[in-house]
């Protein structure tokens, strides 16, 4: 608990430093900083409807981030979350394209989610096999597979799954209404997605704390060679962690397809895969901080959408703030460690 409070202090200092940096950038770009922050806040929390949008962004971000907790525990840099999310979305779409889907919407929605889970997990396993069997560094394997997934997505949207008549960046044809996830009216927020994300956090927390799997992942992350002497198989656990991460990412893809876009679009992953990596880093790889940081990042993302309209500045400001936050927190943490080390040596 005291550790959490200390980490909270780093976070607070990090936030201050990051906003100081962002303010300088805004001034440099000639934009009024206060107005920009105000619009960011209003864009995210200005109305219940806007907050529903934030939650809609929070769902995939949290799902992906939960998955990453497993791979970070075992010391893998699963940079392929984007691709895993895309493959989840592709398999979801594939299931929902069956003509029987409209007759049995509930059955096919369940199947679609299972498909998403499997798609993401398989794509992650591919990277995992490249790492454990091929000795390919997981960063490059994941990245390569992201490019492949993007290519596959474009090919499907512009090729076999194109809308009758026109193929365009706007994606495949909309599904019929029965295949949309139910939403809480009047907001476009799906309780199914929300439940999935909350469940993901709880399951991850319990699994990592109370099961042998969680302990083994951490042990292998600490020293894979020694864990062999303890009778564990590091390669197997790496694949397990990858498939967990991919499965959660795939589910995020399913939620995007069935709950948000109701079709497959080229930008289905919306950069959430990469962003989730930042979320987990900023949370200091802690399970309970992860959903909170994810909410903050989701709010920044949604809040920035109206910046181009209101202030004629680009919405990528949110990305600048998020990056600055992670860097500043790392710096504060490092500075603190150095000071402690100095005191120890004195």
């Amino acid at each position: 608990m005291t550790l959490l409070i200390r980490y909270g202090r780093y976070l607070l200092l990090g936030i201050l430093a990051a906003f100081a940096f962002t303010t300088l950038i805004l001034l440099f770009a000639g934009a009024p900083p206060l107005a920009a922050y105000l619009h960011l806040f209003k864009g995210a929390f200005g109305s219940w409807n806007k907050f529903a949008h934030v939650l809609n962004a929070w769902i995939p971000l949290t799902l992906c981030a939960c998955g990453l907790l497993y791979t970070f525990r075992i010391g893998l840099w699963n940079i392929g979350v984007e691709g895993q999310m895309m493959l989840g979305a592709v398999l979801t779409t594939l299931v929902l394209r069956f003509s029987a889907a409209e007759q049995f919407p509930l059955l096919f929605l369940v199947l679609a989610f299972l498909g998403g889970l499997a798609g993401g997990a398989l794509w992650a396993l591919l990277a995992g096999f490249l790492k454990t069997k091929g000795g390919v560094n997981e960063i490059f394997a994941g990245l390569g597979l992201n490019f492949v997934a993007q290519g596959l997505l474009l090919w499907l949207i512009f090729g076999p799954w194109k809308r009758p008549g026109i193929a365009s960046m706007s994606g495949t044809e909309l599904f019929s209404r029965e295949l949309w996830l139910p939403v809480l009216r009047p907001f476009r927020l799906s309780p199914v997605g929300l439940t999935l994300a909350v469940l993901a956090v709880i399951v991850t927390a319990l699994l990592l704390r109370y099961t042998r799997v969680g302990l083994s992942l951490r042990a292998i992350g600490g020293n894979p060679r020694a864990t062999r002497l303890f009778g564990l198989r590091p390669g197997l656990y790496m694949l397990l962690a990858m498939s967990f991460a991919g499965g959660f990412a795939g589910l995020a893809g399913s939620v995007q397809v069935t709950g948000i876009y109701h079709r497959l679009i080229p930008a289905i992953s919306s950069n959430y895969g990469y962003l989730a990596l930042l979320v987990v880093m900023l949370a200091g790889y802690r399970v309970w901080l992860t959903p909170a940081v994810a909410l903050f990042f989701a709010a920044l993302n949604v809040g920035s959408i109206q910046l181009p309209m209101m202030l004629r500045i680009d919405s990528s400001l949110s990305g600048v703030i998020q990056g600055a936050l992670v860097l500043a927190t790392l710096a504060v943490h490092a500075w603190h460690m150095r000071r402690q080390e100095r005191e120890m040596n004195r």
Binding site: G134, L143, G144, G151, S316, V320, A324, L330
Partner: protein
């Protein structure tokens, strides 16, 4: 369907590869010193934006390239300071910077998107330009392209034939032993991170001022940073071999344009994206994986 004009094709490859060669050489230099600057994909974009806007505002290509190099060095300096002096994971910092530099580029470059700006035109070398085939391929290019060609040799010479080059290799291989010989590993790593960053910055400016002139979202340079990182490993941290990889990638990209016209039934987007996975997997599956394990990069820098 157009004919395959080999001269044109290879001239296109040499020009198109120039920024990738520059970035690859820069990263080779940094990694030889035992540091990884993972932020390439973002810092190329940020320096491309800087190069273009500075050249646009000042009307001078020189200031554009200079500013881009400075920005590249600045991003590299952040990676180096975090990893060498603050002992943070260079992969984590590099990755955050990849995303952040990209977003910063889009944010700050927004007012300058899709503007007509200055660009480095061809500057044929007298006499040499007349040589059949080789003339048009190598000697009717723009200044940054000549620079990329020249630097391959210069870097090779510097690494393997000079004292500082030998010291640099020593630091990358065994920082503690280098320290015992009176070389300060931290300083060396910082210096070569900055030099490598400069080259990466020049790569960005070469995109926005010569190869894919102009700025926009997307600029068109997206993804090449990752390719450059993979090429460094493929080249086994040898500048000449890494550069050959860069030409191979540029060849794939140019071929994509031709293939697109030959197979109109396949969506054009596929050909635009295809070189990336193709390249990364050729690199990884041709035994580069084996080399990665014996990388000179130790992860933790300095003593």
């Amino acid at each position: 369907m157009n004919d395959l004009n080999l001269t044109l094709l290879f001239a296109g490859v040499v020009a198109g590869a120039a920024p990738i060669v520059l970035a690859t050489l820069g990263e080779t230099l940094t990694e030889k010193a035992g540091l990884i600057n993972l932020s390439l994909d973002g810092s190329i974009l940020l320096s491309a934006m800087t190069g273009f806007t500075v050249a646009y505002l000042s009307g001078s290509l020189f200031w554009g390239f200079l500013a881009a190099a400075a920005v590249g060095a600045l991003v590299a300096a952040v990676v180096a300071v975090f990893s060498v002096y603050l002992k943070q994971s260079q992969v984590a910092v590099g990755f955050v910077l990849t995303l952040m530099a990209r977003d910063l580029a889009y944010f700050l470059g927004n007012p300058y998107a899709r503007l007509q700006g200055p660009q480095a035109g061809p500057l044929p070398v007298p006499l040499l330009r007349e040589i059949p085939f080789l003339g048009p391929v190598f000697f009717q290019q723009s200044l940054p392209v000549y620079l990329s060609l020249l630097l391959i040799g210069v870097l090779w010479w510097y690494l393997y034939r000079t004292t500082p080059g030998l010291n640099l290799q020593a630091v990358g291989e065994h920082p503690k032993a280098a320290y015992a010989r009176g070389i300060d590993p931290k300083t060396v790593q910082l210096v070569y991170a900055l030099c490598g960053g400069c080259l990466v910055g020049l790569a960005g400016a070469t995109f926005s001022l010569a190869v894919k002139p102009g700025w926009g979202r997307p600029q068109g340079a997206e993804g090449t940073g990752w390719i450059a990182l993979a090429l460094v490993i493929f080249g086994g941290w040898h500048p000449v071999r890494a550069a050959i990889g860069a030409y191979l990638f540029a060849f794939l990209q140019v071929m994509g344009i031709y293939l697109q016209e030959w197979f109109p039934s396949v969506p054009a987007q596929v050909f635009q994206v295809a070189p990336f996975p193709l390249m990364i997997f050729t690199l990884l599956l041709t035994g580069a994986a084996r080399r990665f394990r014996t990388s000179p990069v130790t992860g933790q820098a300095g003593r």
